[in-house]
């Protein structure tokens, strides 16, 4: 159980690292939000599961924390993405299509 | 395993100093405010390392939402003639 928990924590940390790496490497704001949200959400959830394995007494609290992360993290990312788009954030030259830009007449 | 905590402290302290310097020398006002918010969020983790969960919770509850919001609210109100002074 301890080893399994430890492995889960390491996997979570690896996903967090992936999120950080994506944040540094991706070309524009939207892609960075993508990498940031997904990888860090899964990373946090996995670490919390791992700690629940290491300390079974804490499972309930860790579950609640995971639930909150699951709801608040995508919400803040979406609001931020909308704001970035409205504020006219620069898109990477690789961008192929942007329906929203065309419709808002920018 | 407690030898990890000093390293964590050092990491947090470096990050806080970097954020504080951004807050002072940063280019734009929103980033300065955001950096100040980051200082208080990291301070909350530091308080937890210093074994004061009460203080850490206060800092997390207040530093994350309330203070940042107050600053951005006033900044949004006075936005029209943005004279971003910066250091003299």
């Amino acid at each position: 159980m301890d080893v399994l928990g430890g492995l889960l924590v390491v996997a979570g940390a690896a996903f967090l690292l992936l999120g950080g790496l994506g944040l540094v490497r991706m070309p524009d704001v939207f892609n960075r939000i993508q990498a940031g949200t997904k990888a860090t959400t899964l990373g946090t959830l996995l670490s919390l599961a791992g700690f629940a394995g290491l300390q079974p007494d804490w499972t309930l609290k860790l579950f609640l924390i995971g639930l909150f992360v699951l709801f608040t993290n995508p919400l803040s990312s979406q609001v931020l993405a909308r704001a970035a788009h409205r504020a006219g954030a620069e898109e990477s030259p690789l961008t192929t299509v942007d329906v929203l830009n065309d419709e808002q007449g920018k | 395993m407690s030898h990890l905590l000093p390293w964590l402290t050092i990491l947090l302290c470096i990050a806080m100093l970097v954020a504080a310097i951004i807050a002072i020398r940063g280019l734009s006002s929103p980033i300065a405010i955001l950096a100040a918010g980051l200082v208080s969020l990291l301070a909350s983790v530091l308080f937890l390392i210093l074994a004061s969960p009460d203080v850490a919770m206060t800092e997390a509850a207040i530093g994350s939402g309330l203070t940042t919001f107050l600053f951005f609210f006033i900044l949004g109100r006075v936005r029209s003639s943005e004279n971003d002074g910066g250091p003299a």
């Binding site: 709801f71 | 009460d54 919770m57 309330l66 919001f69 949004g76 029209s80 250091p87």
Partner: protein, 230 residues
């Protein structure tokens, strides 16, 4: 330029003072006299598991009353300073997206309940009235972010605030007559360490402080939100 040089010189002097303070500092290895008293007596005398709470609410209860008053004063002054230009109807430049409104409607009750949890359990877990009040104000803040034109009733906020304050002082006075002194928590038996209904009046007092602090922060937010865009 001269200003900056003067600032640097001042800061160098201040830094020197700080450095000598740091060099002269040796950490204690034993608790000092006051802390030892609190550590030894809190559990037996007051029945509170969180010693910081015991200090804030009971041992230094009068100071906390003063602090809440200072906060009340600063909230009132913020209201007063911003009072002259209240406009009923403002417009928002960018409407709020549906995602944020739905998210706020979903999350606000949970945030408020978390605030209640934090201040009701102030004597057992980290947290208490000040943290709980700040969390409740954060719930109000999320409402405000999701609907910038929302109108908060100053009347209700003021009523909650003053009722909480009134009961706080009343319990303090009751302590003077029924127990050992002003704000003494031993109005009724202190119960078993670690249960929710323990530590005498501490959960009640801290809940009242929580409501009062929450109302004060909310009133600051409400008076700010009614200002006009310049």
């Amino acid at each position: 330029m001269i200003k900056r040089a003067v600032a640097l010189v001042l800061l160098l002097m201040l830094g020197g003072i700080f450095a000598t303070l740091m060099l002269g500092y040796t950490p204690d290895s034993e608790l000092n006299l006051t802390a030892r008293y609190y550590a030894e007596r809190t559990a037996a005398d007051l029945g509170a598991a969180n010693i910081v709470t015991a200090i804030v609410v009971t041992y230094r209860g009068l100071d906390t009353l003063g602090e809440v008053t200072v906060l009340f004063l600063s909230a009132s002054i913020v209201g007063l300073v911003l009072a002259s230009n209240r406009r009923p109807a403002l417009r928002v430049r960018t409407p709020v997206g549906e995602l944020l409104t739905t998210g706020a409607r979903f999350l606000v009750p949970l945030i408020l309940l978390l605030g209640v949890y934090v201040f009701v359990n102030g004597h057992l877990t980290p947290g208490g009235g000040f943290q709980g009040g700040a969390i409740i104000a954060s719930g109000v803040l999320l409402l405000l972010l999701a609907d910038p034109l929302r109108h908060f009733s100053h009347h209700v906020i003021a009523t909650v605030e003053s009722l909480a304050g009134l009961f706080y002082v009343a319990i303090g006075l009751a302590g003077l007559f029924l127990a050992g002194g002003f704000l003494d928590n031993r109005l009724w038996p202190i119960g078993t360490l670690g249960e929710l209904f323990s530590a005498g009046a501490i959960p009640l007092i801290y809940s009242l402080i929580g409501l009062k602090v929450g109302a004060e922060f909310s009133s600051m937010l409400a008076s700010l939100s009614e200002t006009e865009e310049l």
